[in-house]
């Protein structure tokens, strides 16, 4: 086994031992169920509550299309609570290795910084991506059951876009976790920055083209409109480029041994 495989395997074993392998998918399944169920029952709940007081329910709300509901699962659930939970679950990814000296210790072995980082990012990304995909799939099943069905091709294309945004989230959080030493600061910076990226999506097409969070918008558009935005390629390239930048910074930071808090 090469060092990358040894380190990645250690990450997976750790996820199992710390029960992350159970709770993170459960969180995303829960988030995935929430949107279709709430959208479906909300009109009748409001009706029951508002009964005699003459609140009128917008009929279009009751008749949402499946794609729209699935899009709001991404936009309203995953992009808010979901992103925060990913960040919190990953804030210690490198920080805890620094804190207990394991990073320095591992690097006294003939291990390259590259295999350490790729072991971290690839294993964590695979796991987070599977959790997200699972939640998304469950959401899809509920949507099909409660609303209209969604084109399977659109479903997959949207997921792929979305997982690219997740890739950036994972690599960005890893970078922040490498640079800063306090979990609170790491969570704060990552949440503010990543949610900030997501909020400014749609303000300007120029910014969107270099904003990795626009991947989420493209995913939603595919689900709602059934077509891929012509600008999506720029967003894909931007997301990949920014991911590469974060990995590069992480690599330099560890190679220069800056983590030994000099």
């Amino acid at each position: 086994m090469n060092n990358f495989a040894v380190l990645a395997k250690k990450e997976f074993v750790q996820m199992v031992r710390e029960f992350k392998v159970i709770w993170l998918p459960l969180v995303f399944i829960f988030l995935g169920i929430t949107q279709p169920v709430v959208s479906y029952y909300l009109p009748s709940i409001l009706e029951a509550l508002g009964g005699g007081q003459g609140i009128t329910i917008d009929p279009s709300m009751a008749a949402q299309k499946g794609g729209e509901v699935l899009a709001s699962t991404l936009g309203s659930q995953f992009d808010q609570l979901g992103v925060m939970i990913i960040i919190v679950s990953m804030m210690g990814v490198v920080q805890s290795d620094k804190a207990n000296g394991m990073l320095a210790f591992i690097l006294t072995r003939p291990v390259t910084v590259g295999s350490y980082i790729s072991g971290k990012i690839i294993s964590n990304y695979l796991f987070v991506a599977c959790s997200v995909a699972l939640g998304y799939l469950v959401s899809y099943l509920y949507v099909v059951f409660l609303f209209t069905s969604v084109d399977f091709g659109d479903l997959i294309v949207a997921l792929l876009f979305y997982l690219l945004w997740i890739l950036f989230i994972v690599s960005f959080t890893t970078m922040i976790s490498t640079i800063f030493n306090s979990q609170g600061i790491i969570a704060l910076i990552s949440i503010v920055f990543l949610l900030g990226c997501r909020i400014i999506v749609g303000l300007s097409p120029v910014i969107d083209n270099v904003n990795p969070a626009s991947m989420s918008k493209h995913a939603m558009e595919v689900l709602i409109l059934g077509t891929v935005n012509s600008q999506a390629l720029w967003g894909v390239l931007a997301a990949l480029a920014w991911t590469a930048v974060t990995i590069l910074i992480t690599n330099i930071w560890i190679s220069k041994k800056k983590f030994n808090n000099e």
């Binding site: 086994m1 060092n3 320095a104 210790f105 006294t108 003939p110 041994k257 000099e262």
Partner: protein, 301 residues
């Protein structure tokens, strides 16, 4: 194997932890790096283990940069820490695989090394449940596992109780037979027990590079301690009048006699005592204890 530390200086912002330190280590040697708290021992050892880069200077193993020779080095940190959720066996498998040892080799190597450090029976216990001494032993096992040419240990026994200390010292004595060892400690007598050579470091500077016997000889002050019984008190006046005696300190029945040359004078003094039928209780060369030598070196220099 040859380790060369060449003019290593390490600065932390304003503070110089290691100051222009040089030394060489030959294959098979066991060297104790001794210094008080904050002397720069851990910093120097971390430079050797390639955990921190020196500000200036370099460390070479067999003429090659230390960062290219990691397979040849085993490192035991001052406070060994492992993944709490791993078992002892998993820890060694993990570190062993990172060192490039094959799975089959580990299968035999791990039980062997665990019994060597006295941890057999604990292979499936979580590191979380380990005491300080057990972690220290696991740390030693990990440092030995890949059969490095050089083992660097940062205070391997300082944190242990007398029993653990004894056991770990014995383990080190055992491994010293086939490996080169550099270990740091602030307890001279620990180093004395396992190492022939000492390097004393203070405020980041090397102030001494010597052997135990040399150190003891150099510090003996031409004095002889003689204990007598009270009925021989009158001999004291006689001693004072001897021409090679430079001074006598009397504390009850204990005498501290300073002579001109210890080698030739010690037997003359003894002969004189026998001649006068002195009732001797003790007759010995006055040596500074290791503690005293250590204090002298690090406080005075």
């Amino acid at each position: 194997m040859k380790l060369e530390i060449k003019n290593v200086t390490k600065k932390f912002k304003e503070k110089t932890a290691v100051n222009n330190f040089s030394m060489e280590l030959q294959s098979g040697e066991c060297v104790g790096l001794i210094g008080p708290n904050g002397a720069g021992k851990s910093t120097l050892i971390k430079v050797i283990a390639d955990i921190i880069d020196p500000s200036t200077g370099e460390v070479l193993l067999d003429g090659k940069k230390i960062s290219k020779m990691k397979k040849e080095i085993g490192y035991l940190p001052q406070y060994p820490n492992f993944f709490q959720w791993m078992t002892a066996k998993e820890t060694l498998t993990f570190m062993g695989q990172l060192s490039g040892i094959k799975r089959e080799e580990l299968l035999n190597g791990i039980p062997e090394i665990l019994s060597k450090v006295g941890l057999s029976g604990e292979e499936n216990s979580k590191v979380r449940t380990f005491s300080g001494g057990m972690k220290q032993r696991l740390g030693i096992a990990q440092a030995l596992l890949h059969k490095p040419a050089l083992i660097v240990m940062d205070e391997p026994v300082s944190a242990l109780d007398p029993i653990g200390r004894r056991e770990v010292l014995n383990i080190i004595k055992e491994i010293k037979k086939d490996t080169t060892i550099l270990l740091s400690t602030h307890i001279l007598s620990d180093a004395e027990e396992i190492c022939e050579r000492f390097v004393i470091i203070k405020s980041g500077k090397k102030i001494e590079d010597t052997t135990m016997s040399e150190l003891l000889n150099r510090n003996s002050g031409n004095k002889i301690n003689v204990d007598i019984t009270s009925k021989s008190q009158k001999w004291i006046e006689n001693v004072k009048s001897l021409n090679f005696v430079k001074g006598v300190e009397v504390m009850g029945n204990k005498l501290k006699i300073e002579v001109e040359d210890i080698e030739s004078n010690k037997n003359m003094l003894l002969a004189n005592a026998l001649e006068h039928n002195v009732d001797l209780v003790r007759f010995e060369i006055d040596n500074d204890t290791l503690e005293e030598i250590f204090l002298k070196l690090v406080v005075e220099k």
